[in-house]
Symmetry: C2
Subunit: 446 residues, 2 copies
């Protein structure tokens, strides 16, 4: 199902019916880019390419799907015959996952016969948009709290199961330590973290009894949730139990706070633990955390060692979508351009070049016509040729290392959580000239 | 995959390890509710129950999943043996999909042996939260523009594929005419709508040629996208082509606007179409539409007949999550209560009763202890017994009829898009008394 060819908008299929009838199967070039960064985003981080490549390799209409399409009465037999054998046979150029990028920069370019490049439109956007959204949101927490253990806690309020899994992946990509979502451990090899819920405490006749039962059942992974009734009293119970648990060979790893004034509770709990000889026990906090809250807690040097970050990250709550698009830039060798008001695009196949200053800090990008000379490092690379992924793609861990290096190269001004300046993205003279030519040709043809 | 038992947070499994070791398998009662409505939401609409019931019926750890869990080294053989045979054998009480509800009202109650009721926690929240979020958002557009054709256009920026499918379902449930997402047509029987993309126009050497090709390929479903280059010029081309198409037996259904000042363009396009003899052709608009924009366009009586509503609805952009919870309210016959600061819950099994005034308008709800006498209509009904869905559940169309009746019963003040008053939800004296007893018992036990 995640890779069903029916994950498409209806117009893609009605357009294909037109393309096939007119034998419009020349090579088309589409690019995916973000028009404008959301408010309070100084940069974005590319993510989702691995899922795009899998989708393209597996693209196929099943017999059931063809039969259902036939039953709608919208499609002619010749069209259905074509869909039955449709595969993706094109090329893909892309920024590696973890690459930092900015407005108007294509992060993916598809070159394929027009019907193939069109039928994948909505799912390509769906896959790249979401993981890029979450990687970009999660990176903000990583940069604000680089020395803290950050864990994705967002499954329950992520928008569906795929969002939960891909949010775990996207946040791990940019430096989260792991996720609480078990399926993300199995599918992506992401380290798992977890403590206990209030219900575990409530189901027992006392909090201490619940702590003991949990410790005996999970002796190697003990983080006690201490806020079910009274946070500081909970911390004291942990201290009181420590000696007995220790005698059983069980060592307490830490405690979790999930409500109230986290800064105030963390300081009091730190004192209680330290006075009780548990200076090794860590404090983990959750509940409505996002990068803004993190920044506050870091500024106050609150003694919290790790954070569970859920809803705000998995829904990218302060910016729940990106203004992104997948647009036709060339067909049958001729550059094309959409000119709709406020939504005009730069035509043709493009490449993005990045420049750095002497300290390795990003100093400006140029978007230009592909294969035209330009200073800087090219960001788009061939990753699929003729429908087959080329060479070995980076593992998630390798992609994470790339993301770390990329984030390290960000100018300080862009790391701020708000009031970030716009990073310089230059549209090259060559590209501006091409746009002019395309406009003139269009004026002539109409 | 959508129903994998690993769609859980790790702590659910570590807690289960504790429950099994302590033979804590008495009946537990959990309830799902929303603590507080988001700003600018006067009501919420329950949705997602159908997916919850399917998930519960299918709940099972596969052999691969058990093997993978074993490989993590976190779980004891006795625990894995239990997971291998785990099924959901409990009861479910719920508000039917499409029911309007408010703060602190349980919309789902699970009664099952503690491990079963705990292991489903995150996926239950994940399923109910998202569809309820989207149904509640979509209903706002339906109530603002009851006579317009509203279509879900949100797949591309929905958070993953499941979100796209379930957003199509949730919006259809509350009165959208259908969706552009093809898979939603196949899986849920939702009517499909679509036009053409800018790329179709751009791939042709002229806009008129693109219109003709599209019309020949899809003679029964012609909505021309006219803003690729110049909206009014596009409308004029449609008029110019109409006679020739008509001669071929092809009738133009309408046009779509997707950029610029929609009100201004719609008026001009309406004039062009009417003067050209196409007064039957409808105007459909898309691009950044939400209920606030709809309200504006409706107030100005802009001649637009239908709207494609995408990103803002499918991400519930102005309120991308609900403050919801799934909490233990009773275990082994004893009512329980979480008392964390700002997150305390009402204990015990509950029922919600609704009262109406003489005009059939909702006048106030009461949340009370289940089976205690109360005026009004009870909203929670038994839908699953012993792990099997009872009787026939409503079809999506029947659920939609229920939603329509529910929305018709909303007080006018709650239909406003902002500054809505809080609907009266009374916590009954019985429930307050129970909370007091639970607190006293707890004070005694600690």
């Amino acid at each position: 199902m995640p890779n069903s060819a029916l994950l498409a908008d209806l117009y893609q299929l009605t357009m294909l019916q037109g393309y096939y009838e007119q034998n419009m199967e020349e090579l088309a070039v589409f690019e995916f880019f973000v028009r404008k960064l959301p408010e309070n985003r100084g940069y974005l981080v590319a993510a989702g390419l691995a899922q795009v490549l899998t989708y393209l390799e597996q693209l196929q209409f099943s017999a059931d799907e063809i039969e259902w399409l036939a039953s709608t009465g919208r499609f002619k037999p010749a069209m259905l015959d074509r869909l039955e054998i449709l595969k993706f046979t094109g090329d893909v150029h892309a920024m590696p996952e973890g690459t930092v990028f900015f407005q108007n920069e294509p992060l993916l370019r598809i070159t394929a016969p027009l019907p193939e490049a069109q039928v994948i439109e909505s799912r390509i956007i769906n896959l790249l948009h979401f993981q890029t959204l979450i990687a970009s949101k999660a990176a903000r927490s990583v940069l604000i709290a680089p020395d803290k253990l950050l864990v994705d806690f967002g499954m329950r309020r992520a928008h569906g199961s795929e969002a939960a899994l891909l949010a775990a992946r996207a946040s791990y990509l940019v430096g989260f330590a792991g996720s609480a979502t078990v399926a993300a451990g199995m599918y992506f090899g992401i380290p798992l973290f977890g403590t206990m819920a209030h219900s575990f405490i409530q189901a027992h006749s006392s909090e201490s009894e619940a702590f003991v039962h949990f410790a005996e059942a999970n002796p190697d992974h003990i983080v006690f949730l201490i806020d079910t009734y009274d946070t500081e009293a909970g911390a004291q119970k942990v201290v009181d139990l420590a000696a007995a648990l220790h005698a059983q060979g069980i060592k307490i790893k830490g405690v979790r706070l999930d409500s109230g004034d986290l800064a105030d509770h963390a300081r009091k709990v730190r004192n209680i633990l330290d006075r009780g000889g548990l200076n090794y026990a860590t404090i983990f906090a959750s509940g409505n955390i996002d990068e803004y809250k993190l920044e506050e807690l870091m500024a106050e040097q609150v003694p919290i060692d790790g954070f569970g970050i859920g809803t705000h990250m998995d829904t990218s709550a302060d910016a729940p979508y990106l203004d992104c698009a997948y647009k036709l830039q060339e067909y049958a060798g001729i550059a094309r351009r959409k000119r709709s008001e406020g939504k005009a695009t730069w035509p043709g196949r493009k490449q993005v070049y990045r420049n750095y200053d002497d300290n390795g800090v990003m100093s400006g990008d140029t978007v230009t016509v592909d294969n035209s000379p330009c200073a800087g490092q090219p960001l788009l690379h061939l990753v699929m040729r003729g429908g087959k992924t080329v060479a070995r793609q980076p593992t998630l861990i390798e992609a994470g290392e790339h993301a770390r290096r990329q984030l390290n190269g960000l100018p300080a001004s862009l790391r701020q959580l708000s009031n970030t300046p716009e990073y310089p993205v230059i549209i090259s003279a060559e590209l501006q000239a091409l746009a002019k030519i395309v406009d003139e040709q269009w004026a002539f043809q109409v």
